[in-house]
Symmetry: D2
């Protein structure tokens, strides 16, 4: 069975594992207060072209989301996000469990617009009963989104502007960030993210690491006491240097971008094959996630040799499904999948 | 200025005030553990035809909603409600502040259906990743709804059945319950509510009392330790007998139903007038809230003598607004409003 | 039976009730946004000699405590208070339910000192692992305390200074504030409280009102969005003017101080009687609460005609109990109690 | 510098790392739903002599504590623990952040007794105002405790009995469990823990693993929906099999007990040396943590070559400090430390 149902089915890139083994006999201080973490943070600051950034290493994405949002909001404040946002649908109400409402905005492709945000805020403040309504204070977007789409630099500039206008924090969930940055057609850089957001994170779990997300904070208000919040939410890894090692490996020699580009290239091959077969897509994307709409009988055949995840039923005989590539995807597996698709469609 | 913008702009019915004055010189035990509260609870049990019910008196509606829902749910569980549900839009995220997600269901008229609930639960449990999704465990409906509509007995039977099928609690917010029970065309009784729900409340604040909501619990699982939760959420009134006095006054001689019927009759006069003038409505209703769609210039004229609340803009020259009657609405004020409408339309 | 077990067993002072009746036929805007509340707030600002104060009327003490503390703290921050603080022992974990730890400081008489606070903060910040410890950010004191003791002006000055030194908020729970302000030997005024604290409240429930606490905020950081927090915690009374009426009555003609002085005078008579009978006390106090240590057999006799509350067992044959007077205590009842004590001791 | 200040300064045992490398090229399903985790859980069930246990692998101790306690308690319920309990002092209020009070019980050596628990519960339920007090529902103990002491089997039996008597859950934090189980003088087994508790966890982070704690649940009420709570609190590792691998390595060939015994033996050597030098201890213990009381000048000398952690000042010239050994402690380092102690004392 060849696994395409998500992008976290392999342990880690060999360079990450090698570095892990290299450090195995060291004695290191705990809780991320060590030289390895400091070096990894420096590498990320350099990649972001901003030496003033705070960098914290957390274990996973839900943990990063709930910790950042809880750190940013007062009790009556809420996060705005796409109706399909990971925090709205796939984190078991983790943000609500910290006491905060997630206010969903309509979205067909996983993205939201500066206009939607502006409109939501104008509506809030013009309501004479606004004190009876959760106050929007943070905008959450994913890049790439849960549907594999990416924001252009202009879109991020616009969202950033409207956030500044209304005093909102802008937070970018980058669980799959590499796959956006390395995608053909993308024009956003890490430096753009550092410049345009208040806080974002660089996903490691899905991009070459065993686990780990690097939270990057530019807004001083969000930097204060952030480590207390990590600890309180159970996210302070005793052996924090395990995270430092992995991000050191990923950011030392541009490995993060290289392996992301590989995943995107693998996805492009499948995408091109599907396009050439006139297969429709639920959403068009340029990253490592593909959402083709396929006949049930084709999916049944495919499922004998390949895994994919279910997205939604489109009509009585067709479903949209998700295929993911990753840093670990092998050419031979992509070839096998493309061959199978050609045979079946 | 004659106030029609909501139904809590008068202190209380004279019988409530008189009884308050009558009790003024008594010494009474605190925290609702007194004879007056016990008597008021007995009166409500009798009205509900069920001696096994637990009755607790709380000060207000948001407090009742957040206390009941927090008492009912484990941390990962969520409340299902209409997208327009009071808990979803007008309580500053109070339910989320207790840690629980509110999952909105589409609704044009403020009501949700048994089918919607069934479908939501089937979707949840059939998702292989359901542990990543907040688990629906309680259904919240308002009767009448925030849009003035009411549930029929059959609709409640159906919703109750589907809740039992899926192990969900059914909770009815009755902030304006009297105005539903007394409405022409309603076929639901207090006994029906006690029989079909796990918990509901009888609103006093908007129906003749100074303040106060009587929470009625039939499900034993929800009865346990409920007073701890009232206290924890700041809802345990030191002089609890103030609530007992008011519900005693409202339920001793059927006053609750009489004054509710008055409000509905007053609303019916305005509704009939608007119908006779061919005025369209945002939502049809039978209770004390009316949502006519009126031209801006008419609203401007009306606003010189009458208050109403804004609902939504319908087109560039028309808005839906809300007029409320209440137990305190005077015939002369209704006449004045109807005359004004006839003159302007 | 004559009730001395607490100070909230009577409805309200007659002037409060009279004003309530006077306003009964008015139409007033909801949620505390009305002229009566504004006037009551003005009266309080004047009493505090500070026109810049924000004044909010809440229904009860636990509600006031949890709302203020939740508004003031970020998630990782904690409140410091005496081990006997109401928030630590008698609010069903209400503060913890908003996510915040209460850090108890040792106290024999219900008070804490500037030195204790200073020491706690120095300990916190000098711990290299302070990020693993809840961060003290607010000092909670009650005045009078739960044991009937009061803070002197100098003590408040010292506590205020140490709070400023460490960037802590100072919050005074004034559920029984009148009984402190009117006590013989007290040198603290409302103006002192407004000047030395960041936020405090003036208790109405136990001092002449039916219910209601006036939260007075001087620190601008705590003023922001406070009404959102009131609403979110279920504390925004729909008919907010009911609170305004009561505080108007209490602060119009110095009634609050007059009735407080009455309660203290009644307590002084009982205290003097007990002293003259050489009765020991658990704690010495000057307000309306007395904590004499009495033989079990005396308490048994007393309990036939008087109520009191249990405090703690002192030795196999003696218990400390609590007698409370209030604004409503009658001279004849005090006489009866003193006579009984003289007969039994 | 030789590190003795804690027991998590080395990456992991070589067998753990080797197995990690062995699995590196596999494709595995996410979120702990894989064969490796199932096998590791089976090994633990076998070690606990109970096939009915649920086993969940979490990343760290604070995460395990807050998730278990939040899963177990209703909102008004509290955890009882020693005043020195990790959840009370070193988790940044993580339990309170889930809404629950930690009620501290006095303890000189880190342990609490069945009598203390019994007394706390009798006090709670006999208080007529118990609804105003957080309700104790769970007992939290650490074994070994934060002060290196261990519970005997009889003590656990007694605590378990009193918990059953009062309907309390018993939860054992086993962050350093191996060092208790392998200690000379210990008579408690994993099977005892499974039999006597409702839930406990087996610490990996401090006992040979890179990270990871195995939560073992015997009480069916705590089993229900536990994975939802893991996810909600950000504890569901995407590549859950990383945890399975480590516990497989630790439990396949009794490695967990062997390496724990090594750490205890290393500690015994230091302990014996200190005893032979007549050094007093803050607390006597038998596990890998030692709390000697040493003169400041000795500590200053020692600190040039060895790390230790500060515990508390005992008198103007002496401090209690903590030395930790671990699975990774080398004989040569212990020898060096013992030699230094002999020279300095």
């Amino acid at each position: 069975m060849q696994l395409f149902h998500n992008d976290y089915n392999e342990m880690c890139h060999e360079a990450v594992l090698k570095k892990m083994v290299d450090y195995a006999s060291f004695q290191v201080n705990g809780y991320g207060e060590d030289e390895i973490c400091r070096h990894a943070a420096d590498l990320i600051r350099t990649s972001c072209c901003d030496e003033s950034l705070d960098v914290h290493f957390l274990v996973g994405g839900t943990q990063a989301n709930l910790t950042v949002i809880d750190a940013a909001l007062r009790p009556h404040q809420a996060a705005l996000g796409a109706v399909s946002a990971h925090i709205n649908v796939h984190e078991t109400g983790a943000v609500e469990a910290t006491g905060h409402k997630v206010i969903p905005l309509a979205s067909a492709d996983g993205k939201i617009t500066a206009e939607q945000i502006d409109s939501a805020l104008i509506t809030h403040w013009s309501d004479s009963a606004h004190e009876h309504i959760a106050q929007p204070k943070l905008v959450y977007i994913s890049n790439p989104t849960e549907l594999g789409t990416v924001y252009s630099r202009q879109e991020l500039e616009d969202i950033s502007s409207v956030c500044k206008k209304h005093g909102l924090y802008l937070f970018v969930d980058g669980a799959r960030l590499g796959y956006a940055l390395a995608a053909k057609g993308n024009d956003v850089t890490l430096a753009d993210l550092a410049r345009l957001t208040d806080v974002f994170y660089i996903g490691g779990t899905k991009v070459g690491a065993m686990f780990g997300e690097a939270v990057v904070i530019s807004n001083p208000a969000l930097k204060e006491d952030f480590r207390y919040l990590i600890k309180q939410h159970g996210g302070m890894l005793a052996k924090g240097w395990l995270l430092g090692i992995q991000f050191e490996a990923l950011f030392e020699k541009d490995l993060y971008m290289q392996i992301s580009a590989h995943a995107d290239a693998m996805a492009d091959q499948i995408r091109d094959t599907l396009h050439s077969l006139s297969c429709p897509f639920l959403v068009d994307g340029i990253t490592n996630q593909l959402f083709p709409i396929l006949p049930d009988h084709v999916l049944e055949e495919l499922s004998k040799n390949f895994t994919f995840s279910e997205q939604e039923r489109v009509d009585p005989s067709h479903r949209a499904v998700r295929f993911c590539t990753s840093w670990a995807t092998k050419q031979e597996n992509v070839d096998a999948l493309c061959d199978a698709l050609k045979k079946l469609l």
